[in-house]
């Protein structure tokens, strides 16, 4: 299946999280911090650290490591 990340199509397998699919596609960060404008992506991988926040199908504040990816999902940087 495929989903888009900031308009770019990314392949994914059923059951993968958005973070895992992005990681598998070689993407290491998908967010920038508000003070230092530093890149963040995955850190704890289990929904504790909130580094991996993305917008999924228009809904803000989603943890990419917890959200399961579906065909056609639109994922964007917050």
């Amino acid at each position: 299946m495929t989903f888009t990340f900031d308009g770019q199509p990314i392949a994914a397998e059923p059951g993968q999280s958005v973070a895992a699919a992005l990681w598998a596609a070689g993407i290491r960060s998908w967010r920038r911090t508000r003070h230092g404008d530093e890149p963040r992506g995955l850190f704890c991988g289990i929904g504790i650290c909130f580094d991996c926040l993305v917008v999924v199908n228009g809904v803000r504040g989603q943890r990419a490591c917890l959200v399961e990816v579906h065909d056609g999902d639109v994922v964007e940087q917050p």
Partner: protein
């Protein structure tokens, strides 16, 4: 031996210490915890004239507002934000605005939607440009730093008295000597005053604040429903709540406000969370999808006649009180500090001291 020992390293204690030190006195501040260990660390940092009915509290606040701007210039580092306050209501706010204008407050009737684009339409509004905000823990800490004062960590248990004259405080670790003692112990001021043999009626009034995720600025001022003024003025023990919403420099939105007289009860009732959230979403529908990250709780020091207790206690010569500010302690702190300093040094007070005088409880 110091000239004055101030009991309490919260906002009021810090302000008293700052102004006393500036007047050239040698000041010791005593607290069993760190700076801002009590209510100061649990407030929103409001400096408001809009929520006060004409009377002694408002008088003191008008002076205090000017002092806050001076402190921002002289000391700084506490996120002083003169953002203005917006009161909204389903009914006309003309009577409120008129009475405030007559009392010397700058207030205008406005279309609130022009000031807050995300506000639910169809409300009356009144704008108070004098309302401002600070970060209260930083403010208390910075004032103490500016005065060159380190908090002396000790728990005060009683007054040290010699020949009917106060000579300091007795702590668990010994006596701290001073010619004068200021009781600025916040929500414990009533309890401590009993131990001092000069009881004043200060009791806790619990409140909660919801804190959201950090957001880009969507709320520009402090915004609150007019019912808030009634809650503040009421003495009811039962849960009262009305919407108070404002942004902060760090991006989070603070949502209040609730008041209950339940002693130091711990725990967070679900009903309080529901009301705070519902009231905020009613005013700002965009908040429905915003996450609350935490809720914190504080206890406002409630004075039985709803007027702060500032001045000398005739029952204990040398003892002064600076407490009972309920939810207005941050805003009123500088004027309180100035008033206490004037009383102790004999200088001209910034306002008539009679309404706040502890003698009214000394009968």
């Amino acid at each position: 031996m110091a000239d004055v020992v101030v009991v309490g390293a919260g906002m009021v204690g810090a302000a008293c210490a700052y102004y006393l030190a500036r007047a050239g006195l040698d000041v010791t501040v005593v607290d069993r915890g760190p700076v801002a260990g009590g209510t100061t660390g649990a407030g929103e940092g409001n400096l408001l004239v809009s929520d006060k009915q004409p009377g002694p509290e408002l008088e003191l606040m008008l002076v205090s507002l000017v002092r806050w701007a001076e402190l921002d210039a002289d000391v700084g580092g506490f996120e002083f934000t003169p953002k203005g306050g917006l009161v909204v209501s389903s009914s006309s706010l003309e009577p409120l605005v008129t009475s405030h204008q007559q009392a010397g407050v700058t207030a205008t009737l406005v279309d609130p939607g022009e000031h807050e684009p995300e506000l639910v339409p169809g409300r009356h509004g009144a704008f108070y440009p004098q309302d401002a905000q600070v970060q209260p823990a930083l403010a208390a800490a910075r004032l103490l730093r500016a005065a060159g004062i380190d908090v002396h960590r000790a728990e005060v248990v009683s007054l040290a008295v010699q020949s009917d004259r106060v000579v300091g405080v007795r702590t668990r670790d010994g006596v701290v000597s001073a010619g004068a003692v200021v009781n600025a112990s916040g929500v414990w001021a009533g309890e401590l005053s009993q131990a001092f043999g000069a009881p004043i009626p200060v009791t806790p009034r619990r409140g909660f604040v919801l804190v959201t995720e950090p957001l880009p600025p969507i709320i520009r001022h402090k915004v609150y429903a007019a019912e808030y003024l009634d809650n503040v003025a009421s003495g009811d023990a039962e849960l009262q709540s009305s919407a108070v919403v404002e942004g902060t420099p760090s991006g989070t939105i603070l949502i209040g406000a609730s008041r209950e007289r339940v002693g130091f009860d711990s725990g967070v009732p679900r009903e309080v969370l529901r009301r705070l959230a519902a009231q905020a979403v009613e005013l700002f529908p965009v908040l429905a999808g915003v996450h609350a990250l935490r809720v914190y709780r504080g206890f406002r020091p409630y004075s039985a006649d709803h007027v702060p207790i500032i001045g000398p206690d005739p029952r204990r010569p040398g003892l002064y009180h600076a407490c009972g500010h309920e939810g207005a302690g941050i805003g009123l702190a500088p004027a309180t500090g100035e008033l206490i300093t004037a009383t102790i040094t004999g200088a001209t007070p910034p306002v008539d001291a009679i309404p706040y005088a502890p003698v009214r409880f000394a009968a």
